[in-house]
Symmetry: C2
Subunit: 242 residues, 2 copies
DNA sequence: TGAGAAGGTAGACAACTGTCTACACGCGAT
DNA sequence: ATCGCGTGTAGACAGTTGTCTACCTTCTCA
C-alpha cells in the first residue's frame, strides 16, 4: 500500500457540503429549528439539487451533528484564549507567584478583574458570531434527542475548559476541583442563556453585561465563603469593622 | 341589553379546543417543537376534522400561546404555595418575629433550610408535571418569536413571585429589592434548566438535586457578602477563628 | 318560532415534501 | 484504456400539508 493523499481531492470538491451547512446555518438563524428544515428547502437555499443532500448526509440530524461539531471546534479554543488574554491583561507578571493567603485582597481583585474582562470579551465574541450561539442554545433544548445530547457534551466541555483554566491561572486557588467544576458549569449555562438576550435585545446590552458580571462574582464569592475561606475574604472586603 | 351568560355554553361545548390542546401537549412532549406540528397531524391525534382547528385558533402560534398561558396560570400559584409550605415547615411560628441582626445564625439556617425544602418540592412538582416544563423550556429558546416572548414574560413573572415571597417571608432581609430580583431571576432560570436534566436523567436525580441546592445557597451567600453583610454571616458560619 | 352564531364535518385544491432510480461528469489508480 | 468512486443532476412517485368553500347540527336569545 502506498501513502494516500486524499487531501487535494477534498479541497477541490466537497463544496456541496459547505454550501448545505452554510444554508442551514443561515436558515436556522432566522428563527427556525434544524429539524424543521426541509431538505429541499435547504438545497434550494444552497443553490443545489435536492438529491445532493444525500451525497453528504443521510439525515437532517446528521447535518446538525456536523454543524455542531464544527462550531464546537471553532469556539472552544478562542474562548480559552479569551480567558488567558483577560488574565494576562490583569496580572502583572512579576506578581504571578504570590500566594493568595499572603495577600487575599490582591487575589480577590485579580480574580474579579479577570472575570469581568472575560465576560466582556465573551459578549463581544457573541455579538460577532451570533448564529453559532443561536443555533447552540436553540438545539440544546430542541426537539432532536441526538442534537441535544451532542450539545450537552459541548457545554460540558466548555465548563471543563473553564474550570481547567481557572485552576491553571490560579484565579481561585481556595476552591477544590469538584466545586470549581460545578461553579464553572453554572456560569457556562448562564452565559449561554444570557447570550441570547444579548443578541436579541441590543438596547439592553449594558444591563445584561452588568448582570453577568455580578452573577460570576456572586458565585465565586459564595463558593469561597461556603468552602470555609470566608473570613479571609471578608477581611479583604471589609478592612475595618464600623 | 340583558346580562349575558355564555358560561353555560362554554362548558357544554369547546371540547374541541381542549382536545386540540391536549393533543398538542402530548405530541410536543414526545420530542417535537410546537411550530413543527402540522395542524392536520394535530387534528388526527385529537380525533377531529382538520378544519375544526380553524374554529378555535387561527395559527399554530396561537395554539401555543393559549397553552403557555394556561400552563402559567396552573403553575404559578402552586409554586408560590410550595415556598410558603417550605418556609412554614421550617420556621417555628414563635420565632418568626426575631430580627436577623440579633441572631444571624438562626436566620441563615432558616433561609437555607427553607430553600432546600423549596428546591425539593420543586423537583417533585417537576416530576409530576414533566410535559409542562418540557414545553416551556423548549419553546423559551424555540423557533417562534411569539412564543419566546410569551415565555420570557412567564419566567420574569416567576422570578418576581420568588423575589416577593422571599421578601415577604423575610428570608433574606439584608438584600435590597434589585439584588433580590436579580438573584431570583438567575435561580429561576437555572431551576428550569436543571429541571430538564431532572426529567431526562432519572438516575442522576440526587446529584442534580444536590447541585441545585448548592447553587441556591451559593448565590444567597455571595449576594449577602457582596452587599456588605459578610462579616455577620461569616461569624455565624465560622464561630471561632482557628 | 325562528334567525343566527358556534362548533364540527366533508371534499377538493395546489403546493410541497422525502425518497427512489437513472444518468452524467471528472478524477486517480490499476 | 478503463474501472470505480465521489460528486452533482434530472425526473418521477406517493404521501402530506395548509387552506378554501360548502354543508350540517345544536344551542341561545329576542
Amino acid at each position: 500500500m502506498t501513502a494516500r493523499k486524499p487531501s487535494l481531492t477534498k479541497t477541490v470538491a466537497a463544496q456541496g457540503k459547505r454550501l448545505l451547512m452554510d444554508a442551514a446555518l443561515k436558515l436556522t438563524a432566522q428563527s427556525r429549528s434544524i429539524n424543521a428544515l426541509g431538505l429541499r428547502e435547504l438545497a434550494r437555499e444552497a443553490g443545489l439539487n435536492p438529491n445532493t443532500f444525500y451525497r453528504h448526509f443521510k439525515d437532517i440530524d446528521e447535518l446538525g451533528l456536523t454543524i455542531i461539531e464544527e462550531m464546537s471546534n471553532k469556539l472552544r479554543q478562542p474562548l480559552r484564549d479569551l480567558r488567558r488574554q483577560a488574565a494576562e491583561s490583569v496580572v502583572p507578571p512579576e506578581l504571578a507567584g504570590i500566594g493568595w493567603e499572603e495577600n487575599p485582597l490582591l487575589n480577590l481583585q485579580k480574580a474579579t478583574l479577570a472575570t469581568k474582562e472575560t465576560v466582556k470579551l465573551f459578549f463581544d465574541y457573541v455579538a460577532q458570531n451570533p448564529n453559532a450561539f443561536i443555533l447552540g442554545v436553540r438545539e440544546l433544548h430542541g426537539a432532536s434527542p441526538l442534537l441535544r445530547q451532542a450539545l450537552r457534551k459541548v457545554m460540558a466541555d466548555f465548563a471543563q475548559d473553564m474550570a481547567d483554566d481557572i485552576k491553571q491561572l490560579k484565579l481561585l486557588p481556595m476552591l477544590d476541583d469538584v466545586t470549581l467544576l460545578e461553579v464553572a458549569s453554572t456560569i457556562s449555562r448562564e452565559m449561554f442563556q444570557l447570550s441570547m438576550d444579548y443578541i436579541e435585545q441590543p438596547e439592553q446590552r449594558n444591563a445584561i453585561f452588568a448582570q453577568a458580571e455580578a452573577l460570576v462574582v456572586m458565585l465565586f464569592t459564595g463558593a469561597t465563603v461556603l468552602k470555609g475561606h470566608g473570613r479571609l475574604l471578608v477581611q479583604a472586603l471589609e478592612p475595618l469593622p464600623a
